[in-house]
């Protein structure tokens, strides 16, 4: 929910609560004032009647509103009470407030009861409450509306800066340009963000530099070792034992350089250094790969089958796509059973590469981890699937593994194309 919306929602909720409370308070206070007024009026009426009685004047009875009756003897305090009287004309009961008072005049005790209809006073109270209430609602409403207008204006530079930051990429060589807001908090935030993004860009650049330097520094000595060993191998004056040793050193060096290249590649993928993308056909890539591996499959007596259900087009970096397919494919060749099978399924947004195997992977959750080896004696570098996993992560694809009907299956779910 947007901040403005949330604030407004809170405003409205609180205003509503306040309005209800205010309404109740107003209603009761007006009722009290009105009833005090009413009682005052009743008191005046009784006083008037009392005076008239004492002067021996005739009292005009007004049924239900003024009643005067003679009583034997009593000296009760004046009593206010509510009563309901049936109205003949309107055929309904009406509420009255009454004041009863005993009066001693000319040797006679009287009971005076004066009544006043409460309907009028109630109507007055309600009218007042409604008018005040409506004024309050109008007031709150315009406040909410105004605050929204003001807030949109205040937050506008914030949203603009947010947009700028969203477009920030570590690969940019210039720091983010944030707009001045003249609001202290926002400007402080901008300052921090500018610092952070500058630092991130710098770190990214030095990291990139480091990976390149590291690879450079390691590859060159490796190149020297490899070249010298190769020259040595050519020397036919070596004993069998020496050749064995040299070959073993040679292969270890090759492994080391593969390992280094793999790690450098992983860092590059992590750093999002493969950015150019183009539209390519996975079907075509698979075909090429099958062509490439044709002799190898034949020599290893591996049967490869492709099931094409759809033309799978991807908009992605061609190098990354090739690495993913190549690693999965060579994986399925290298870890196949003797005279095994490879089954490739190309679906609408899915690629599945399966190969024969005896048993499921024991630690399948660690299968995509760096340097994971199912067989510890294996001389594999253990980076192929880690690279596949990293590429999928960066590209937003899903890769998973399952063992089904004697087949190791790797499936990639490509994200839906826009």
């Amino acid at each position: 929910m947007k901040l403005i919306k949330k604030l407004n929602r809170n405003y409205i909720a609180y205003s509503f609560l306040c309005l209800i409370i205010a309404g109740i308070v107003i209603y009761y206070s007006i009722s009290i004032v009105v009833s005090i007024q009413l009682e005052e009026k009743l008191k005046n009426s009784t006083l008037q009647i009392e005076t008239m009685l004492k002067q021996g004047e005739e009292i005009n009875y007004l049924p239900s509103l003024v009643e005067v009756s003679k009583i034997s003897a009593a000296n009760l305090p004046p009593l206010y009470s509510d009563t309901v009287i049936y109205n003949n004309y309107e055929d309904e009961y009406e509420e009255y407030r009454q004041l009863s008072k005993t009066v001693h005049a000319n040797g006679q005790h009287y009971l005076i009861t004066v009544r006043e209809s409460k309907i009028e006073s109630e109507d007055l109270a309600i009218t007042l409450v409604v008018v005040i209430f409506l004024t309050l609602i109008l007031f709150t409403g315009s406040l909410v509306f105004l605050s929204r207008k003001v807030m949109v204006k205040i937050w506008a530079p914030f949203y603009q800066n947010l947009k700028t930051i969203k477009q920030f990429s570590v690969k940019d060589h210039f720091p983010v340009q944030l707009k001045q807001t003249n609001i202290q908090e926002f400007d402080e935030l901008n300052e921090v963000l500018s610092l952070l993004t500058t630092k991130i860009s710098d770190d990214y650049r030095s990291l990139k530099q480091f990976t390149e330097d590291a690879s450079h520094e390691i590859q060159t000595p490796l190149a020297i070792i490899t070249a010298k060993l190769e020259a040595l191998i050519d020397d036919s004056e070596l004993s069998t034992q020496q050749t064995e040793t040299i070959r073993s050193v040679f292969n270890s060096v090759r492994r080391l350089s593969r390992l280094n290249q793999g790690l450098v590649l992983l860092t590059k993928i992590e750093n999002n250094q493969f950015v150019d993308s183009k539209i390519l056909s996975v079907n075509l890539l698979i075909e090429e790969k099958l062509q490439d591996f044709h002799e190898l499959l034949e020599l290893k007596e591996i049967q490869a089958e492709t099931l094409v259900k759809a033309e799978l087009m991807l908009e992605t970096n061609p190098v990354l796509a090739d690495i993913v397919i190549n690693n999965l494919f060579s994986n399925s060749v290298n870890h196949n059973s003797p005279k095994g099978k490879i089954q490739i399924n190309i679906l609408k947004e899915q690629l599945e590469i399966c190969n024969s195997g005896e048993a499921p992977i024991r630690n399948s959750e660690r299968l995509f981890a760096r340097f994971y080896k199912e067989n510890s004696s294996s001389k594999s570098v253990g980076l192929g699937l880690a690279i596949v996993n990293k590429i999928c992560e960066v590209q937003g694809w899903q890769v998973d593994y399952r063992f089904e009907a004697g087949m190791h299956c790797f499936r990639i779910q490509f994200s839906p194309q826009k």
Partner: protein, 225 residues
Amino acid sequence: MKLLIIEDETELSAVIDSYLSKNGYICEQVTNLTEAMEKVAIYNYDLLLLDIGLPDGNGLELMKAIKKVHAKTGVIILSAKNSLDDKVTGLDLGADDYMTKPFQLSELNSRIKAVLRRHHFEGSSKLQFNEFTLDTESKTASVKTNTLSLTRKEYDLLLFFLVNKNRVLTKEVIAEHLWGDHIDAADNFDFIYTHINNLRKKIVKEGGTDYVKTIYGMGYKFTDL
């Protein structure tokens, strides 16, 4: 054939020099960009082996210079940076090939030959060895007058052998040349044996001599010595 090796690691350039000299190339070595610029200005080279990460500048500078003066000079970039940008820039500027360190000398030799062939420095696209003739343009091979019906990889293998004749090629190097990075280092390379045997059979069937010698514990050597 005259080659200029521009590489700041003298150890590496020395071993490349001695390897290529054995193959009949005349090699010269320089260690920095300034020297390289001077050499290139004075002499004519058929091919440059160019390391782009030089102490006094980027080797790509030299690429631009050389392509203006001697457009026919072949250039193979040797780089420790397996950087796609450099590769693309290098090839765009007119480099013939790009190799990432570390590389196999036999592989380098193959690439040099391929570049020289492409520039027709060696007369034609045909490669001759005793009774073998390989046409690198049509990618066909023949023994005497009989055409060998080879698969693409078998042809590549024969070409690799011919280019690196009299040299020991390990199974790993052969496998990597043919399948590039597709081959996992962990794999055992016994299938190379089958592959080579198929090639041998085809050669013998068409009346050729089997020059492939097995070097025990090492690999293979294509030799008529």
